[in-house]
Symmetry: C2
Subunit: 344 residues, 2 copies
DNA sequence: TTGTAGGCGTTATCAC
DNA sequence: GTGATAACGCCTACAA
């Protein structure tokens, strides 16, 4: 049942049917009523989206390209909240959300790409060539990293991390601060970072900005940042974090850090769980800080000291930008220091 | 830059270009190489998805229609794990995931509908008319409810809930069991359910099956199910559950339930948090059971006693069914009783 | 207010 | 192995 069939059936032209659906003001209400009623009766579900999108050039589909796998992104509190914000705006604006991952087979990513009206690219972007495969004139908003020629949405990572670390170091003097990074090294590394590792450049990972903030605070408090031990995890999940944090917590008492600056709440919460299992007193034996402000860290005791970022807002803003509802320049969102009991 | 442009530019026919991209065996490797190279050089990104989908009738897009808002679904552990499973399969099969919500404006839902090759409908379906707007011959898989004429994926809610409640009542004799439901009443209700409320029919909510399981166990243990107090929450979030559970926990000691059979882990965890805040001893003063087996309930102490459902498997199965990788009949997935310390 | 016709960018069916 | 051509279903000047 196509628009044309319906037109023939009703003895009117295809244009009239089309107008009945898309431009009510272009025909008499009576006729329109009749057409809509007959359409329903004959089982015409409205203009076909595939044909319409070919003709008009727009699909009302916005694609979000996620750096991580969909599996990860949908389960992670931070990215799913982001998506949630995106979805909220798209929904009210009559658009729908297509989920893509930079990890997925390139061909289908590219294929689906020409379907979407715009792209929101979230997180670290592994390959330059991906951008080559996106439609040339596509509108694109980058989130948490930069793409030249396109606006981006960022969070004030460096100042936020400075503030956290500064707080941690001011509240109680610390002897052995350490940092647990997330995807900082060029080569995958789940464990201690040593001088042989090369680090990803700042354009490719927000971890660098966060690290810079931590370092600035450490320097302010008289530490030599080169001597601050650092670990790294490749994925923000309990499973991946657990062994690395066990390695840290199982160090001899006089080597074990007494302050762990973590790049994410997920890491910090994993550390917290493992530390509690080992009978370490929080915060006396070990202070912990996170980043993100996810619910799981706040609905528990002790609550996590962290920098809250409004991931949902980030998504809403990115969506509004892609739809042209916001000025087309890059934006920087703030964070809020949340003082919990893990580092009071 | 279209396929036709490229054909003209290279002096070959459009068919040849199309074949170069879609049917490598239909032309000489040399020619194909040349075409691909020139395409890249001239900035042709490959066949346009909109046009292709119109022509072939397939978009390689599978839509998931969620009963709840996208915002909720993306943040809820159970549904995001489900989506995650769906995404995993679609990804490996070269399909992409379009997220729709039954809550969103009907027009765009219908619009986008004709775009997708198939539909996975998840959870309670509020309106019949939604189905009328889906393409007639669309393949469709229902999850957690039934749609006549289409296969569905279910979890063995009734037996699982019987098992949980039976365990709870066997382990320690209880005097005052109570049930906290999720979306059981026809009219929205956040609070105690009284006889005036009408309940949703079993076709529309899995809560009915779960309730039936609880009731069967209660009867077995000599309770009159009509006298078991029931509460209801409309949404599976901390914010919505909190006041209802406060109402329950703040009852006088001799009225407060000593066993709370909850329809979800989210509800049970909220109860747990609030009970701990009130200094109630778990499980001595209050036993709690959940449903779902989400991580949050297992990575804490005390761990939640619950029925674990593999939401990811559910998603994977639904996706495989919609892609025709599984026999086209309905399936029932099992659950696993997980004994935690909230009801040992 | 309604109808006509061209084309959006592909792919599939044929010929050659 | 390669090329012409006809759909796919719709939208929208423009004409009536």
């Amino acid at each position: 049942m196509t628009l044309k069939d319906l037109a023939r059936e009703l003895g009117v032209s295809t244009a009239t049917i089309s107008n009945a659906f898309n431009r009510p003001d272009q025909l008499s209400p009576n006729l329109r009523e009749r057409i809509l009623a007959e359409a329903k009766r004959l089982g015409f579900r409205g203009p076909d989206a595939k044909a319409r999108s070919l003709r008009t050039g727009r699909s009302r589909i916005i694609a979000v390209i996620l750096a991580e796998s969909l599996t990860y992104s949908l389960n992670d509190a931070v990215s799913s909240e982001f998506l949630s914000g995106v979805a909220e705006v798209l929904d009210t604006q009559g658009h729908t959300l297509l989920l893509l991952s930079a990890r997925q087979a390139k061909c289908q990513l590219v294929d689906s790409a020409s379907m979407a009206d715009g792209f929101i690219v979230y997180g670290l972007m592994p390959s330059e060539e991906l951008f080559d495969s996106l439609p040339l004139n596509a509108s694109l908003v980058a989130v948490d990293f930069n793409v030249s020629g396109h606006p981006s949405v960022h969070v004030d990572n460096e100042p936020a991390c400075f503030e956290i670390a500064d707080h941690a170091l001011t509240a109680t003097p610390r002897k052995r601060p350490a940092i647990v990074n997330l995807r900082l090294t060029r080569e995958p590394c789940n464990g201690r970072i040593d001088p042989k590792h090369t680090l990803l450049p700042a354009e490719l990972t927000i971890t660098r900005s966060r690290l810079a903030g931590f370092h600035r605070a450490l320097e302010k408090h008289g530490f030599d940042t080169d001597r601050i031990p650092m670990w790294n995890v490749e994925e923000n999940t309990f499973q991946v974090c657990e062994p690395v944090l066990e390695e840290i917590l199982d160090l001899p008492d006089d080597e074990r850090p007494d302050l762990l600056l973590c790049m994410s709440d997920r890491i910090a919460l994993t550390a917290l769980t493992l530390a509690e299992q080992r009978g370490l007193r929080i915060p006396e034996d070990l202070c912990l800080t996170g980043f993100d402000g996810i619910a799981e860290g706040q609905y528990r005791a002790p609550r996590l000291t962290t920098a809250r970022q409004e991931s949902g807002d980030k998504g809403r803003l990115a969506a509004r930008m892609i739809l042209g509802l916001e000025p087309g320049h890059s934006r920087l969102l703030g964070t809020e220091l949340m003082l919990g009991e893990t580092c009071p």
